[in-house]
Symmetry: C2
């Protein structure tokens, strides 16, 4: 069955080739400014043929969306070795912010662009839910260690996510230019440390 195998490989190669071209354009121009004809041109292909490998434009987007989540989760994974849950929690925020800084376009694709993410059953959302439970578990552990007692676990988790996302979302939309004299990175990192200071006093 050598040929069937090769066929499959060729199909996967084409799949990857399209995805590579799409990634380049998507991360360069964003969702709307990326067209099927653009992608096709990038890899010297015909626009119609892409539909042989992907249902539609949104399916390509989804694969990149998922790619971004895997990248982020991979970077968070190294924090598993941090024993103290509060230290791990604080570090998670820093890693998250760093991810947004280094992967602005992915971050946009993952958390801000909403074109085709409407179906809540998509894989991206599943991963997102897992991430949230992970966060909630971490907060819960902190509470068992005597931190954030008198706080509702769920609401407090939501707050932490909001803080970090808020910091990153403003950055990704270039909305922090109004703070003059400070770079985006300074704002984000020190803004987050202000929050950490609040947590530490709690």
């Amino acid at each position: 069955m050598g040929i069937a195998e090769r066929k499959l490989e060729e199909k996967q190669e084409m799949h990857k080739r399209i995805l590579d071209g799409a990634r380049k354009i998507f991360l360069q121009k964003g969702y709307d400014q990326t067209s099927m004809r653009n992608i096709a041109q990038e890899i010297n292909y015909s626009p119609g043929s892409i539909y042989f490998y992907f249902k539609d434009k949104s399916e390509i987007f989804h694969e990149l969306h998922k790619e971004g989540f895997l990248l982020l989760l991979n970077q968070l994974k190294v924090l598993q070795k941090v024993r103290d849950p509060f230290e791990r929690l604080k570090a998670s925020g820093r890693v998250f912010i760093q991810f947004a800084q280094e992967n602005k376009d992915y971050y946009n694709l993952m958390f801000i662009v909403d074109e085709p993410v409407k179906n809540s059953l998509s894989e991206g959302f599943q991963i997102a839910e897992e991430a949230i439970s992970y966060m909630q578990e971490m907060v819960s552990e902190c509470q068992q260690n005597g931190k954030f007692t008198n706080m509702d676990t769920e609401y407090f988790t939501f707050l932490i996510i909001s803080v970090v996302h808020g910091i990153c979302a403003l950055f990704c939309k270039n909305r922090n230019t109004s703070f003059i004299g400070k770079t985006d990175e300074e704002l984000m990192e020190n803004g987050y440390e202000s929050f950490v200071a609040l947590l530490e006093k709690s």
Copy 2:
């Protein structure tokens, strides 16, 4: 000169009529799904004629963008009577969140959609900058009253804006469905109160 006057009025009326139609579609479908032909059809007009009153689609968007800011600032204005800066600060966040809840589409247009807001000199940004200085002033007052001493004013202001925006942005993108058993409103309000609790302990 009665006719010139009437002419001007007629022009303003047409301007308003287009804007009304555009508002309906924009807030219904968002930026990308709104087309000039859609707007024209809504008010029984020809697509091309819109360009007699607006430079392009983005200019229509900008007027609505500004509209949203004026609406928000109007709601914040009632808090001027609150003397204590810390109380005013806390209430501002609540008003902001409430605005996002009640005007989800405006919020999207104002803070999330980024199509034509690229030029930082737009009126929307000017208003945004004013809002930020206003916030910073409030934080500064709090510090003079002995709150948030040992915090950098600018970074701390950035944090507060991030918190509130983060809460609202997640809501506007329907990203909080992952917290089951709690309504969006509960999450937002109680999440914010968790933050207030942190502030109060500081």
